[in-house]
């Protein structure tokens, strides 16, 4: 039994290849963060080392140790807090790849965040990637495959993990994580199809707390003058050097919010993301014109892009604050 939720075609493909004995020597799993790349990779590792009949059984000691990342032949190579995956990590991996499997099954190397491989490390990997020793399976996980060297990409079979449909996430949360249906619905919508995010949010109250705080700040900003908006811009811009991800999270939350307004304006209220704020959204939508909402979404996207290009974060945010559309009518 494969434990991956959704991704049925990929699972079927891997399952058939496994049974037919024609697995590719290296897979490149591409998909947004938390969509299930690692789960799928570990699941395949379990299948390759499973001692049960229904591979992967998930219950034999081998499967359980893989799930707990305690198996001697399964190695996950990741950033570990560093800026990139270095050549020494890859050399070490290649060294153990040449040894026969410790526990007698298959060695599986999972490179988590393959786009963070340094150029030297990626080049070093090429030889093993092209022709791995027998009983070695390589799995490269990447969010953005365009950041990989073309020579690395061309040596792997690419499997693309697409975001799951919201109902699938919702059902999975209810059935496997015993989440209350109302909460499951909100989380599923917010997850944008990434089950891992929803599960993470479930165990981490901070995520939901932060979201609520950011949303209320957003609502507050639309109603106040420039001075206060600029204060907020300065405040979050000061965090930028420490935590680049935080601003991006704020902006994506904002984009989601304004997208919902756009949907409501357009009469497609069923598809909104922030389902728990439905009433506020409908109320807010009254105050804005369609063109104003559309323009602001565009300027938020430009801000995200500018930040990615190392623009001054405070300036970018201040410009964004000026672009918040005027509340009208009501």
């Amino acid at each position: 039994m494969w434990q991956v939720m959704g991704h049925e075609t990929l699972v079927a493909l891997l399952d058939n290849s496994l049974k037919g004995g024609n697995l590719s020597h290296a897979y490149l799993l591409v998909g947004p963060p938390h969509v299930g790349k690692m789960t799928l990779a570990l699941n395949l590792a379990q299948a390759l080392n499973c001692q049960g009949d229904q591979k992967p059984c998930g219950t034999c000691t081998s499967c359980q140790r893989i799930a707990g990342l305690r198996h001697a032949d399964i190695q996950v190579i990741g950033l570990d807090g560093r800026a990139e995956i270095g050549i020494d990590q890859i050399r070490e991996m290649e060294r153990s790849a040449t040894l026969k499997p410790f526990e007698g099954g298959n060695r599986v190397f999972i490179i988590d965040g393959a786009e963070h491989l340094s150029t030297e490390a990626a080049n070093c990997l090429l030889k093993t990637l092209e022709e791995p020793p027998p009983n070695v399976q390589l799995m490269l996980l990447a969010v953005n495959e365009r950041l990989l060297l073309p020579t690395v990409r061309s040596r792997c079979q690419k499997l693309e993990l697409r975001p799951l449909p919201t109902p699938v996430v919702e059902r999975a949360l209810i059935e496997h994580w015993e989440v209350a249906p109302e909460q499951a619905m909100v989380l599923a919508r917010l997850s944008s199809g990434c089950l891992g995010w929803a599960v993470g949010a479930l165990h981490d109250d901070r995520i939901t707390g932060e979201r609520a705080a950011r949303l209320s700040a957003l609502l507050h900003l639309t109603g106040v003058g420039r001075a206060e908006r600029f204060d907020y811009a300065a405040q979050i811009a000061s965090q930028f050097s420490k935590n680049r991800g935080a601003i991006r999270e704020v902006l994506s939350l904002w984009i989601g919010w304004w997208r919902d307004l756009l949907l409501i304006k357009g009469g497609c209220g069923d598809f909104i993301t922030n389902i728990d704020q439905e009433a506020t959204l409908y109320n807010e939508a009254e105050y804005y014109h369609l063109t104003g909402i559309k323009g602001f979404i565009k300027s938020m996207q430009q801000a995200v892009e500018a930040l990615g290009q190392n623009a001054n974060p405070r300036l970018v945010l201040e410009v964004l604050m000026l672009n918040i559309p005027q509340r009208e009518g009501g």
Binding site: R95, T98, L99, K100, F102
Partner: protein
């Protein structure tokens, strides 16, 4: 788990098994050492997923059990204790191991033994025995020639061929090749060839220094692991996958010049030349001149580094064939001379651009091939 043992024994056991504890690892538990009781003995085991060392020691066991403990911490603590009886008690709930010795005591938090990677045990396969002295010599004469760089993984291992009554060990790093044939104490059932990591053999060499009984050797049926069983110690090594290059074609079959020299003199002259060859490319030049009616043959060893200076040394040699010259890396020359024990050695060569062969005189079991360096004479 509850037992008592002597500090001296525990410290020795930890130093043996501790050699296999992982230093850099992706699996944190391999920084730990496994302590497990087996009837009236205590087993210590560690692995870095390349080699695994288990050793057994006498202990008075009152309650069976097993636990893994951070190796560094335990070793440091045990080594600081006086030479006395150590009482060990494991509290299964908190996974804490309590050690009491004389007026000292300590408690160390451990991790469940079930989480430790299974130490491979090999019951069947190709089996043989070998005299420890012969094995030690074979390893010493070969292992240094294995590659340390990992660009070609098979070369970081030692090719080991078991055939009938003979074990052939061969190692090469692209510049030199060492081949040693050692007798087996028991013939193998079938011809078997494997590549054993050089690191594993280096550890084995260390372990068999005070071993007198023959070493038992088993290769498992799917050729993935080799087990060396010593008295109270077992070393299991993963084998390297791949095909070792056919080294026989690298050994020159003929020669045009052959010089026989005293090993002691050659070593001394090579060492002197190495002083001047230390910097730069470390070149030692050898000029081999055959003897004439009244003068004996000789080898002139010289080394030169521009900024430092130069030296010339001369040793007597029995030379057959033409006058010739050749240059070697001084480290490669000293390495091979350092592992030989015979009275005299021979150097065979054909030209200054083809490999030189060094063999001890009087024994037929060792061949060392060194690539020459290309120099302006």
């Amino acid at each position: 788990m509850k037992l008592s043992c002597l500090q001296e024994n525990l410290s020795k056991g930890l130093s043996i098994a501790g050699r296999a504890v992982a230093t850099r690892t992706t699996l944190p538990i391999t920084n730990n050492i496994l302590l497990a009781t087996e009837k009236s003995r205590l087993k210590l085991a560690a692995t870095n997923l390349e080699i695994a060392i288990s050793c057994w020691m006498g202990a008075k066991v009152t309650e069976q059990g097993a636990i893994t403990i951070p190796a560094r911490l335990l070793t440091d603590f045990v080594n600081s204790l006086p030479n006395d009886k150590i009482e060990m008690t494991l509290s299964p709930k908190t996974k804490t191991l309590e050690l009491k010795c004389a007026r000292f005591e300590g408690r160390i938090n451990g991790v469940d033994a079930d989480e430790f990677p299974p130490i491979p045990s090999i019951g069947e396969g190709v089996m043989t025995k070998i005299d420890p002295e012969a094995l030690r010599l074979a390893i010493a004469q070969v292992v240094f020639a294995a590659a340390t760089e990992e660009t070609r993984p098979v070369l970081t291992g030692v090719y080991s061929e078991f055939d009938g009554n003979t074990l052939t060990l061969a190692a090469a790093d692209g510049f030199r090749l060492a081949v040693h044939k050692a007798p087996l104490a028991e013939p193998v059932a079938e011809r078997t060839e494997v590549i054993i990591p050089a690191r594993a053999l280096t550890e084995l060499q260390r372990l068999i220094t005070d071993q007198e009984e023959p070493v038992e050797l088993t290769i498992n049926p799917n050729r993935s692991q080799v087990l060396f069983r010593l008295k109270d110690v077992e070393l299991v090594s993963q084998l390297i996958q791949g095909t070792f290059p056919n080294y026989n074609q690298l050994i020159p079959q003929s020669y045009t010049t052959r010089a026989e020299v005293s090993l002691a003199e050659f070593t001394k002259a090579a060492r002197t030349a190495a002083i001047f060859a230390r910097e730069g490319s470390a070149i030692v030049r050898l000029q081999i001149t055959p003897g004439e009616e009244l003068t004996p043959g000789k080898i002139v060893l010289s080394a030169r580094t521009e900024e430092i200076g130069d030296n010339i040394g001369e040793i007597d040699a029995t030379v057959e064939g033409e006058e010739t010259k050749i240059a070697f890396n001084s480290k490669f020359l000293s390495d091979v001379l350092g592992v030989l024990h015979e009275e005299r050695v021979t150097l065979e060569m054909t030209s200054s651009s083809s490999p030189g062969v060094i063999r001890p005189v009087g024994v037929e079991n060792y061949t060392h091939v060194v690539m020459p360096m290309f120099v302006q004479w």
